[in-house]
Symmetry: C2
Subunit: 237 residues, 2 copies
Amino acid sequence: MLRSCTAGLRSIWALRGRREGAPRLSTDLQPARRLFSTEKVIHKDWALPNPSWSKDLKLLFDQFMKKCEDGSWERLPSYKRRSTQESEDFTTYFLDPKLGEEERLSQAQLFTRGFEDGLGFEYVIFKNNDEKRTVCLFQGGPYLQGVPGLLHGGAMATMIDIALGSCTGGAVMTANLNINFKRPVPLCSVVVINSQLDKLEGRKLFLSCNVRSVDEKTLYSEATGLFIKVDPEKRST
Amino acid sequence: MLRSCTAGLRSIWALRGRREGAPRLSTDLQPARRLFSTEKVIHKDWALPNPSWSKDLKLLFDQFMKKCEDGSWERLPSYKRRSTQESEDFTTYFLDPKLGEEERLSQAQLFTRGFEDGLGFEYVIFKNNDEKRTVCLFQGGPYLQGVPGLLHGGAMATMIDIALGSCTGGAVMTANLNINFKRPVPLCSVVVINSQLDKLEGRKLFLSCNVRSVDEKTLYSEATGLFIKVDPEKRST
């Protein structure tokens, strides 16, 4: 089944050719193929300003960068693919080697980093380790539309999943997400997601977050999440 | 803020030019600009097989198309943008005319239809109106990765939102999503989302769904959703 999907995609790209229609793929294929080799992979950090960032997003980014100067906060980098070590942890835990992970992973990239600059998810996360909380600054682009003029609920759920996960540290899997959508988010606007770790029970992490406008006056969403720490020593059954 | 975002995107695309870097945008811009004009817009239906569909997805598609022959089931078409009438309903309800919706919407498209064939969300939904339920066949492509080799939880949440919404009929907004992720979904595999309307209370619709493997042996997720019917006569406050 997986091989069939990969073969199908390859035939499409072969028909299109490199220059026409799929320019991102030809370059993006290379780093992923090296995930399980010893070759050095140079990753680009996507959690930095680009020209699509609005004035609000740039302003908030600068404010949090200032907070990072005394070490109380840190900016979390973001890549299209995970680090080799983390990939190996997850591979050991979840994937059956018989399925041919290397082939399956060759085209893969992080869901939220697959769009051209400004069209999809523009975000950066800052973490306060002492307070066990993070702040995610998020601008949802025009390719994330649900209802006309508004951000898709699935795009908001995706960012909530990522924001909550950023509070956990290390390898985790989402077990539950419970989201209350209070107000729709206008497309292209900037929102702030405040997340915190509420409780830790063994491998279970209980988290919560809220999504607000930049001026904090509008509460868009509230959510809770249950995440489970992945133990690389154990394979799932 | 919104104008600033749009202006930022335009400057990027202007720098790139039409042929280099943003081939999809130059063509995609045209229909959206016509959303609020009287010009006829020709929409492509994306809920039909393309060469990236795996054997499993094509087989299930054919089985459900056969069920449609006696009228008990119907295939729901899917477009990158909503119909003019529905756009107008939502615009009346949610958007402030002072914000300049036409400009904001000019680049917008449905979140799940913004990827090249096979890279993102490949899906089709069949509806049984008498039984108030839908079946969504979904193949998540390599650009929807979370943990290496696995589908991102946010991509699954997005499809659950869409699948539940497909049971409602008409214009609705998601108020709550509660998702239990039981097992991770392998990237590029096909899953089946069975959704049903459980209860209707005024404008509130209570729905539930489960996500299973094609052979039905693996339960990947279970979810409930609360959706609210949009009343075009009333503006939100």
